[in-house]
Symmetry: C2
Subunit: 249 residues, 2 copies
């Protein structure tokens, strides 16, 4: 392979895997891409929301810009995941369509992927539909544009691991939630069932999931208490555990 030292035909893009939870199942925000599709292109009906990076913006701002457009909010949870840099990840007809869309003449695009987590509600579902996007059940995702299926799979693995270390679940839940909702969410992310009794104990012994005064209503079983996540207590816990772990290993 001959090394090509031309630096000015490359662009950086971002692609964002936005997860949402509606109390039942884990969903991902996908954008319909009729503009892109054409004969000879591998681009399917859906892609992840994303954008090229403008010259004077940093990645976090660019993600906020895309989120504003697609879900109408800026202040949501987002974290960098990975960089996909295979020079052949977009080429041929796909590359031509992208260049046409952005009025550019690029030879390759490196993409930085992000993960976002949002508390899903009906308003957001209709906002997405009005803006060319759709919340699709994780288990029903079909062929996506470009290498976006790869990115989605990596993102799912990523949050499954992260879930065991950081309190990301609460980014996906409403302020008040039942232990059952939390468990259903965790099960949806990790892909297998948990013992509800041990799960409850583990969660409550964490010290930062706090009961409220409210109960479920109109359920055909014993109504569950609603709980909330106390971020300040969480941060105190983290500090306390860190100190303990300093003593010895």
């Amino acid at each position: 392979m001959q090394t090509n030292y031309q630096y000015d035909k490359q662009a950086i893009s971002l692609d964002c895997v936005v997860f949402g939870f509606d109390g039942q199942s884990l969903k991902v925000l996908l954008v319909r891409c009729k503009h892109f599709s054409s004969e000879g292109s591998s681009i399917g009906n859906y892609k992840l929301p994303g954008s090229l990076i403008a010259n004077n913006e940093d990645l976090d701002s660019a993600v906020a810009r895309v989120m504003e457009k697609r879900i109408g909010m800026r202040n949501i949870y987002m974290r960098q995941m990975d960089v996909f840099s295979d020079p052949k990840r977009i080429q041929g007809e796909d590359l031509r369509l992208v260049n046409k869309h952005y009025n550019a003449d690029l030879t390759r695009i490196i993409t930085v992927t992000y993960i976002s987590l949002v508390k899903l509600n009906n308003q957001m579902v209709s906002f997405a539909l009005k803006n060319g996007a759709e919340w699709i059940d994780i288990d029903s995702v079909k062929r996506l544009a470009l290498d976006h299926n790869n990115i989605l799979i990596k993102a799912l693995n990523h949050i499954a691991r992260q879930l065991q270390q950081e309190p990301i679940a609460f980014e996906l839940l409403p302020k008040k939630f039942t232990i059952r909702a939390l468990r259903t969410l965790c099960e949806a992310i990790i892909g297998f069932e948990l013992d509800s009794r041990n799960f409850r104990k583990k969660v409550l012994s964490s010290g930062y999931v706090i009961p409220t005064e409210e109960k479920e209503v109109d359920v055909s079983h014993k109504p569950a208490l609603y709980y909330k996540f106390d971020k300040k207590l969480y941060e105190q816990e983290i500090k306390r555990r860190f100190k303990l772990s300093l003593r010895s290993w």
Copy 2:
């Protein structure tokens, strides 16, 4: 802020934090940057090894290329860390010097950072010196070029976390090592001391640190056995634990 949609003056670079361990202390590979320094530039005497990305190479190949140049080997441990994308991370005189060096006309550079781990020996120390680089003790690192101090600090935190999850320590140790060497390395990375007796038990109970027949010689205390890391056994262990964790939480 006005969004500037010019996409062709951006470049992607990589910067690599290469850690090495010589049995005593943790070191990082730094490159002397006399070419870059000038009045008005924030670029100091040292920077992390790195490069712009050529049009037809992916990031992993580019890292391998840089490693070949700086330490004379391609097949070493390397993993992507983070992307630094602040448009102002390189500007003014710094940017001018970079453009001059690469004969380019860029307005901003986004950098993808990598972490590499190598088994350090005397040959490598002299190879580095011959090639404009130097292995510097982690505790003695001064002001680096651009935002490279930030990158180094993030990398250190990153491996300290990673150490508790993955067997990265063995990438930094020779094939045969004493438990003490392993502990000294871990202490250097996490920054505090560990109980030697419990550490030994934890390591040996892992199942994949295996005693050899050899002992230390010429030490003024009971000579320690040399051990080795068995990667195959490690992978079996991982699978076994994964199965266990599937049962319940």
